[in-house]
């Protein structure tokens, strides 16, 4: 069972207490956006085999949304952090780089 540390209430929450919310750090596009941007925001996903930044909700706990950096190929969790960020913070990046030195940051670099 996947266990994630909730950065808000401090509980190590089991997967059964959590709700997965998909890819994090998406740029939100709304009215007036181009079709490409709107499609990208709503549907297109990186879906990487490797480091994945994602949203989680501590649904059966404090109820807060938070973010996690996790490896989809091994289920290893690198870090969890505040949802009030637009990009992975420096300490999260460092934790990932330490374990996945070859990881390409792509459009998050």
């Amino acid at each position: 069972m996947l266990t994630l540390h909730c950065p808000y209430c401090g509980v190590d929450a089991d997967e059964t207490d959590l709700h997965a919310g998909g890819e994090a750090h998406l740029t939100r596009f709304g009215p007036g956006a181009s079709d490409d941007d709107f499609e990208g925001y709503l549907f297109t996903r990186k879906n990487p085999k490797g480091v994945h930044f994602e949203r989680w909700r501590h649904a059966y706990g404090c109820g807060k949304w938070f973010l996690a950096a996790r490896c989809t190929a091994t289920l290893e969790v690198f870090a969890t952090y505040s949802a009030q960020t637009v990009a992975p913070p420096a300490d999260v990046r460092a934790a990932i780089t330490a374990k996945r030195p070859d990881w390409s940051w792509g459009d998050l670099s």
Partner: protein, 414 residues
């Protein structure tokens, strides 16, 4: 290719089975093919087969990073049905189901298609309305399905409990010509037929890069060297996003784990397939006697081909409610596969932003039933540039808002 027949079995029985050929040839890759298909699962092999059979394109390689049929083709619960709500879905799934009817004869390989019938249970008022609507839609689409009463459900499947503790059975959507087939045999049968047409099936060969010139594909880099091609078909299910990234585009898709399990073999007790989408489990009995069980997907992005135990628990709880006699059964094996789920739960059979690359993915949790139809349609798309069966399944439908919304029609199991 020596044909398989009752006579061949008798002949080989008399000579110690020394005359059987390899089912498919093992050849090293050539430097260039007309068409390269990535992914030797059911869909990839079927695409290659119909390229050869329907369009005479036989200079084809099917390359596979693992072993033939070792992905979702060998991991599903083998259910075949075509009772979908939307017209484009009904068209391609019914094409597929009808190809299954005589696939064994077509391939000269027994795929053990067993049209034993599929019931999708209605256990809420909402589902009654939904399935009655689907039955009406199906009659307009030429797909034979029928709304049946709880008594008829009990008649077709005596081991079912109609008065479950949470959700009584209120009726069902019955497709008499749905059923199951032997999943490995489908892959093996197509592989044998492809090999017989001169196509190369190259296993243990992973694509590491896609070569392009002026926006057009020219080949792939693989762990067995570079292989050139004029057209490239990506038919890799859960890894479609990974391969698309190598070709320089992204897909509207996420990969999650779907688990299944089988019980110890028991005497025949159930000769239909039952899907219970409200409590979320489905079950059929294999020819060996094992109860074959599936449920819903795990919740998060995952490439590990493993799932979480609590999903198994949910599925089994649903089935104990529906079939109380299974409560003492021991489970033999459990496994997971990586399914590719799109925003509208419908597949993608499409041209891509790269000229010459075609993608067939997004079958999500319901790809096995679609193998022959998917291959048929994908072959037409690759050979002619379009197909009436695939036009609605373009990857650009999300931009245009032209969804084929089966997440409502199919509930959760799909």
């Amino acid at each position: 290719m020596k044909r398989y027949s009752a006579f061949a079995i008798a002949r080989e029985a008399l000579r110690q089975h020394t005359g059987w050929d390899r089912a498919w040839a093992k050849r090293p890759p050539k430097s260039k093919y007309d068409v390269v298909i990535v992914g030797a699962g059911g869909h990839g092999l079927a695409t290659a087969y119909y390229l050869g059979k329907n369009f005479g394109i036989t200079n084809v390689a099917i390359i596979e990073k693992g072993w033939l049929g070792g992905g979702n083709t060998g991991r599903n619960t083998t259910i075949i049905r075509s009772n979908y709500l939307q017209d484009p879905s009904a068209a391609i799934y019914e094409k597929s189901r009808s190809l299954y009817e005589n696939l064994s004869q077509d391939l000269n390989y027994n795929v053990m298609f067993s049209p034993r019938g599929v019931i999708m249970l209605a256990q809420t008022q909402h589902e009654i309305r939904g399935y009655q609507r689907t039955a009406h839609a199906n009659s307009l689409q030429g797909v034979t399905t029928e709304w049946i009463s709880p008594e008829r459900v009990k008649e077709l499947c005596p081991i079912i409990n109609l008065d479950g503790p949470r959700y009584p059975v209120l009726g069902g959507l019955w497709q008499e010509r749905g059923g199951t087939a032997r999943h490995d045999a489908v892959a093996w049968g197509y592989a044998r037929a492809c090999s017989d047409m001169g196509m190369d099936i190259i296993q243990q060969c992973e694509v590491t890069g896609v070569k392009k010139e002026n926006g057009k594909v020219t080949g792939v880099q693989t762990t067995q060297g570079d292989i050139g091609c004029d057209k490239l078909g990506m038919v890799v299910a859960g890894h479609a996003s990974v391969l698309a990234e190598k070709a320089g585009f992204r897909l509207p898709m996420e990969s999650v784990a779907l688990q299944a399990l089988v019980s110890e073999p028991i005497k025949p007790c159930m000769d239909v397939v039952i899907m219970a989408n409200t409590v979320h489990g489905y079950m059929s009995q294999s020819d060996k006697g094992e109860m074959v069980i599936g449920g819903g997907t795990d919740g998060f992005n995952n490439y590990t081909q493993r799932g979480s135990f609590h999903h198994i628990e949910e599925t089994v709880r649903a089935l104990v409610e529906t079939f109380p006699m299974v409560s003492r059964l021991k489970m033999l094996r459990q496994w997971g596969g990586i399914v590719d789920v799109t925003g509208d739960r419908s597949p993608i059979l499409s041209k891509t932003p790269v000229d010459g690359i075609f993608v067939n993915c997004g079958w999500g949790t319901g790809g096995f039933k679609a193998i022959p139809g998917s291959g048929w349609a994908m072959a037409e798309l690759m050979a002619k540039g379009s197909s009436p069966l695939t036009d609605e399944f373009s990857m650009h439908r999300f931009r245009e808002g032209k969804f084929i919304d089966e997440s409502v029609a199919a509930g959760v199991a799909h």
